[in-house]
Assembly symmetry: C2
Homo-oligomer: 497 residues x 2
């Protein structure tokens, strides 16, 4: 059976996971590097996956009462000075705008001209700009909660860029809210965490670990950072989304005050939360196989591709007409409350592999033989390439939602199995060290008493970090693997992207 | 009748059009200025209008075969040196990134650190970056046409900013295509012009003038620039969208070559085209009245607002329940192929004026009296504030699409009448000068032989520019108002934003 060993992507995952990742992106024409340090160009297939993520998350945010706004790209430098932890966290990676025109350099080239009075920074995140406006818009308890979101590009110079996972510029959403009390703000941060978790699990089909970040991994300026952590097929963790309870740090830095019902001036409590184009990288590394990308049906920009099989050019228009009529019929079907997204491949030649590599859930072949029998030949992306099922058109129309759902279920089951196989619990520091010395990756859980010192030690000794500490403490108490003290806090340790 | 003289916006349009414009934006909470020079913050109402524009245009672009991509925000400085006209056009307004971090200034503040080897410019437009990638992706005639679009922010320092109309950063779409021959590229540019024209006229209800730009108004680097020009209520022109036939200027600067069917290497022919958040400003100045914004039904983020009238607090939940049930019923109705967008005002107090000022097409009041009679009280935004029609709920459900369409028709008729009243033809230079010396604004048509000298003269003498030259030459030939020579070319002259 040499057939089963053939794969569209070289190298295979188990040969070189990192190279495999690059090859999947290239073969599916999702994105490529550019001459701008660390910045990528998102090509139609990669960008359309991001558009789907945007569309589905935007609906969820709006249903939760968040309104979209848009704030400036640039931040006056002095804004960043107002919150000390925040500037410490981002200063090293800020793109700084210092001039407002280009002038001739006298040698036929250009140079920056007209220095600005105050430099601007391209937003690495917008807590500062938004905080300043919140302070203006919020006066009374009646103005709270204030709940907004922004879809935008941000910039953090990246010295070791990787397409989608780490790029100097990336696209994201950043939500920002302000509340009258700490508990409500913390609940909001947790509600957004739950929103991300649900989206990751039910739409992107990525099993998650959610919890609070340890001190060493907290967002600069946050009082608590919550995160959604996803395991990639190489066993490394990807931080898929974060939600921050900012306490009163930004409200004090930007004077976000309101008058409460007792006529007292109070500082508001704020949150922020975001996910980015990094999720596209997470999809690739969760579901991709040695034939390329493999997309969950709800997120795939195209759910069904119809491939006309033309052996005799004189029959091309007959086959194409049949394919287009079939597409019209399929578009009338709904799956997951949306009309099914169908495309007819119009390019001549056998294009099957291009759609396998792009990860489209269902492929349907139609040729003269199928037309004669009012049939189609159906393949599902998660099954071996050569598995084809012959269906009548009537059967296809009836079964399509179930067929899509079968891909959904299969990808979810596969991802869960992968993760289960690489998740372990340890009861001592030795077990933890043994594990990460003999295993490249995996999620390792253990009880611990949070300690920044141990975090530094782990990073230095093993390049391992605390990914998150589950909020639900029902598994405890247990014994801290480092200190031997009793603790109700569980932590998950892993190497990460 | 003092009532009719009352207005929500001060000053009124005929008192100070420019101040009126600012007041409409402020009262409708659409946008405001920021501490970033020339950059605005788009608040939910302003941004949601832009989201509607995006959504509807994006559908049209995709139906025309354009695919969305995303290119980097930053452009290496040397890219701009490659097309001489292009850099001349944009160098004066480029934001230049020169450093890649912030460091302590030694006095508790910050300063730029780590100079970049080569500065970057924040994209003022992306022909250069995209041209460089096109040169890589295009090899054969089979790769053509290549048709793409990008939704993005761009930056051009603006010394005289005005919300939506002129901001240093603005949001836009920029389409870019490459073709095998000049005619196909020119036809593509014209097809996008027609797309913009249709969208402006049938959705935004802004009567347009379309045609080619004169030499003095051409896009830097274009061979031909086409534009859609719209008249604002003060009689000034607003350039609402442009579409450029770039010839081979960018393909030669960035080496975009393909091998033709005769195996010869040829330079491709390219186009670019865009509209921006400026369209939101155009909407305000086309349809707004002395009570604020007035939105065409197809573009309004909310088409029907239901206002609960509560005189007796004990009845609040009864009225609110009734309002929400009504909203559910209305959401099932379709107008212009979309489900009607309905909102229930949940804030206590009489909020009618806030929705008048936001320009929502239909307002429906429900209180205990209406509930008792199974009725509603309906107002249309384009009619006087106090005009109310009592309808049964059954009548409302039946009539709503027609009621929305009545607003649509009324706004279109009003805008056309405005423009007709301020459009004139002249037959000599004297008539043209007389007109613009005694009139602040208006569109003036006349035959002319295109001449850059006359363009400069007009700008200097009258601050008037050639807005566009209609492509349809069927009205000619006539006599050039400047040179007296026969010409088939008509031009429209105006003062502009």
């Amino acid at each position: 059976m040499t057939v089963s060993k053939r794969s569209a992507i070289s190298p295979k995952r188990d040969e070189d996971f990192s190279q495999w990742y690059q090859a999947v992106i290239e073969q599916a024409e999702m994105a490529e590097t550019s001459d701008v340090r660390g910045c990528m160009v998102m090509r139609p297939w990669g960008y359309s996956i991001w558009e789907r993520i945007q569309q589905l998350l935007d609906q969820r945010f709006k249903a939760m009462g968040h309104q979209n706004m848009y704030f400036p790209l640039l931040i006056p430098m002095h804004y960043l000075e107002k919150e000390a932890d925040h500037v410490d966290g981002f200063a090293k990676e800020c793109a700084v705008v210092t001039h407002r025109r280009l002038v001739s350099d006298g040698n036929g080239g250009l140079k920056p001209g007209s220095p600005l009075e105050e430099p601007y920074v391209i937003r690495p995140t917008s807590e500062t700009l938004i905080g300043q406006k919140f302070s203006k818009w919020i006066n009374s308890y009646r103005d709270l909660p204030l709940k907004m979101n922004q879809w935008a590009n941000v910039m953090r110079w990246e010295m070791r860029p990787r397409l989608f996972l780490r790029t100097s510029e990336f696209l994201w959403q950043e939500g920002h809210t302000a509340h009258a009390n700490a508990d409500e703000a913390d609940q909001q941060a947790l509600a957004m965490l739950a929103c991300y978790q649900d989206f990751c699990e039910t739409v992107l089909l990525m099993p998650t670990l959610v919890g609070e970040k340890s001190e060493g991994e907290r967002f600069p300026g946050a009082q608590k950072t919550y995160s959604v952590e996803v395991m990639m097929q190489d066993g490394k963790a990807l931080q898929a989304g974060t939600s921050h309870f900012l306490g009163q740090n930004f409200s004090k830095a930007f004077n976000i005050q309101y008058t409460d019902q007792q006529e007292q001036r109070q500082y508001a409590w704020t949150t922020s939360w975001g996910v980015s184009t990094r999720l596209v990288g997470g999809l690739i590394m969760t579901h991709g196989d040695d034939d390329g990308l493999c997309l969950p049906p709800q997120i795939s920009p195209i759910q069904v591709v119809i491939l006309p099989i033309v052996h005799d050019e004189s029959k091309r228009s007959t086959v194409m007409d049949y394919a287009r009529q079939l597409a019209d019929q399929l578009t009338g079907i709904h799956y997951a409350q949306e009309a099914v997204r169908v495309m007819v491949e119009a390019r001549p030649g056998q294009q099957t592999w291009s759609w396998v590599k792009k990860g489209v859930p269902i492929r349907i072949e139609v040729g003269m033989r199928e037309i004669a029998n009012d049939q189609v030949s159906l393949s599902s992306r998660h099954l071996p390439y050569r598995d084809k099922t012959t269906l009548t058109v009537a059967q296809l129309l009836q079964q399509l939602p179930d067929r899509l759902h079968a891909v959904h279920e299969a990808l979810w089951a596969r991802a869960q199995a992968w993760r289960a196989g690489k998740s372990h619990m340890v009861r001592s520091q030795d077990e933890l060290y043994d594990y990460f010395k003999s295993n490249e990756a995996g999620f390792v859980g253990g009880f611990w008493v949070p300690s920044l010192d141990y975090e530094h030690q782990l990073r230095e000794d093993l390049s391992v970090t605390v990914r998150c500490m589950p909020i639900d403490r029902s598994e405890g108490p247990g014994i801290c693997i480092f200190s031997g003290r009793e603790t109700s806090c569980l932590a998950y340790f892993a190497r990460s992207y």
